[in-house]
């Protein structure tokens, strides 16, 4: 899929994320808008995974460690045909499988996540199995930045490096915000580049809200033979809606009717602008 088509998809995904969060009156708005471009490129461009091959042991895996940004994952999985999008109308309702964190009851979800600091070790184990079997599949995992304070991540990075897992791709959704405020005020994680390099990882940085940048970076995996891949994706929490951007208030804020209207209009305008650009 070409970059403009993916860009348009990202805007449509954003509209849907807001639609279902508004409908449920619950959700992790800021984080879902932050990582949606990454999920878009992964599922539409990079991952060899589909409803048809989901039981094939050689499929690529995507494990979302920052499970709370589940609305982004749901709209992408629906678009991939894992389930009808209308099922998202049950988001967070009594007995719905579409709960506030990924579970395997939802077709297309690899692991039940939500407690932070778990996805990376699961991904390391999965990638290790791939190496043991000399299989071709890759394992992608998405971490949040606040989550990096969980020590289990660093245990898992040690092992990823020890076992030379170049089939593992760790993507950090680095929006610099977490529920309490700025990472640097809550618990400083910097200098990240130096830390990851010191752990023996092949590190790249990208604009995690720019389709071309994401595509170019992820298409280049493995960055270095024998080293796990780590991508620092610089993102903006709440990306795409002016008043939600880079504001901790929208970590799990739900827009009221007027805000919702404004957000959808902003996104519609961006879609029209894209269309105009394409018709030229």
């Amino acid at each position: 899929m070409c970059v403009p088509d993916l860009e348009r998809k990202s805007l449509e995904y954003r509209k849907k994320i807001l639609k279902y969060i508004k409908h449920a009156s619950a959700g992790h708005t800021g984080g879902s808008l932050s990582c949606i471009d990454i999920l878009n490129v992964l599922y539409n461009q990079i991952l060899h995974v589909s409803p048809q091959n989901f039981s094939d042991n050689n499929r690529d895996r995507y494990i979302q460690s920052k499970g709370h940004s589940v609305e982004a994952l749901y709209v992408v999985l629906a678009d991939q045909g894992f389930f009808p999008e209308s099922e998202l109308e049950t988001l967070c309702q009594y007995q719905s499988h579409f709960i506030g964190h990924p579970t395997r009851k939802v077709p297309g979800v690899e692991q039940n996540t939500g407690a932070l600091g778990h996805g990376l070790a699961l991904s390391v184990g999965t990638a290790l199995a791939g190496k043991m079997d000399e299989a071709d599949f890759k394992v992608f995992t998405l971490l949040g930045d606040g989550e990096l304070a969980e020590g289990s991540n660093w245990e898992a990075l040690l092992a990823a490096s020890h076992y030379n897992l170049d089939n593992l791709v760790v993507i950090l959704d680095y929006n610099k915000l977490q529920i309490t405020g700025r990472n640097k005020d809550v618990m400083n994680v910097e200098p990240l580049l130096d830390k990851f390099k010191a752990f023996g990882l092949a590190v790249r940085e990208m604009d995690g809200n720019d389709i071309a940048s994401i595509k170019a970076t992820l298409e280049d995996v493995p960055f270095e033979s024998g080293k796990p891949n780590l991508v620092i994706a610089h993102t903006t929490k709440g990306k795409g809606v002016s008043f939600m951007e880079d504001s901790v208030k929208w970590h799990h804020g739900v827009p009221d009717d007027a805000q919702y209207q404004q957000a959808q209009e902003e996104l519609d305008k961006k879609i029209s602008a894209l269309e105009k650009l394409e018709s030229k």
């Binding site: 042991n57 395997r104 690899e110 692991q111 039940n112 996540t113 939500g114 407690a115 778990h118 990376l120 070790a121 699961l122 991904s123 390391v124 184990g125 999965t126 990638a127 290790l128 199995a129 791939g130 043991m132 079997d133 020590g151 289990s152 245990e155 898992a156 040690l158 092992a159 020890h162």
Partner: protein, 323 residues
Amino acid sequence: MNSQINAETSKLKMGSPNLEVFSNTLQNLAAEDRNLVVVTSDSRGSGKLVPFGEKFPKQIVEVGIAEQNLVGIAAGLASTGKKVFAVSPACFLTARSFEQIKNDVAYSDNPVNLIGISAGVSYGALGTTHHSLHDFAALRAVNNITIVAPADNFETEMAIRFAAHSPQPFYIRFGKKNMPFISENKDFEIGKGRLVRNGKAAVIVATGETVYPALLAADHLEKTKGIRVAVVSMHTLKPLDTKLLTDLAGQFPVMLTVEEHMVNGGLGEACSGFLLQNGFAPKFKILGIPDEYTVTGSQLEIFDHYGISEKGIASEVLKMIDN
């Protein structure tokens, strides 16, 4: 009368440590199945897995001293269809990595076999950091995991073989000292307790390495008082054999449970919870490690201290019968 289940305990054949049987069984299984993987956290020595590592270097994964990572990685491996045994001292495996067990193994349904070595007070003199007296209680509160404490070499081998082929998560824990065979009876099924001695006046429902002292106590009572007491090895704590418990409650007016675990939340509370909710009220007592700062010493000394011994168990049973 079944002579097999009434063999005198002193005549029982001495076996090896359950730990050693576990290691040998795993080697036999690995020889037939390249998909079997062992994961260790700097625990291959204490897990008697050095020979395994030498024979099957491609089937053992070391994660270093990092039990959370041990369980997370084991779950990832299992998600691809590997038959995974994650081996670590029971104290660390079930406390440090509790959330990984709850979420990555049980909730995500990745069928890891968690092997808690040197369980209970096997590391008696090393203190509370190294005791696992909480593991039954902790894991009983987690959905989708089978909990097994084998009493002898036979039960250990059977449990390991069953777990290897089961598509469900398991927690199996044992100690490291030589264990006698508790019975010549070769019936074993996960989830089914074993009546290893017949009796009349009372029944002792024990698990793991406390089945042996329970048998010694039954001998003692028969020899000194002519009282015949039944003994059950309740190797599976979850799912609990409620059918057997129902039968026992119908037959015996007195029931004593024995476990190498805190009296809180283990075998005893599992049994009493079932019995009381189903209308049974035998004279009932839980013998285990009391809720106090645990005494230290060898496993045997700690057992003796808390009455998990031939004389201690016999005297508890006598008190219950007399009252």
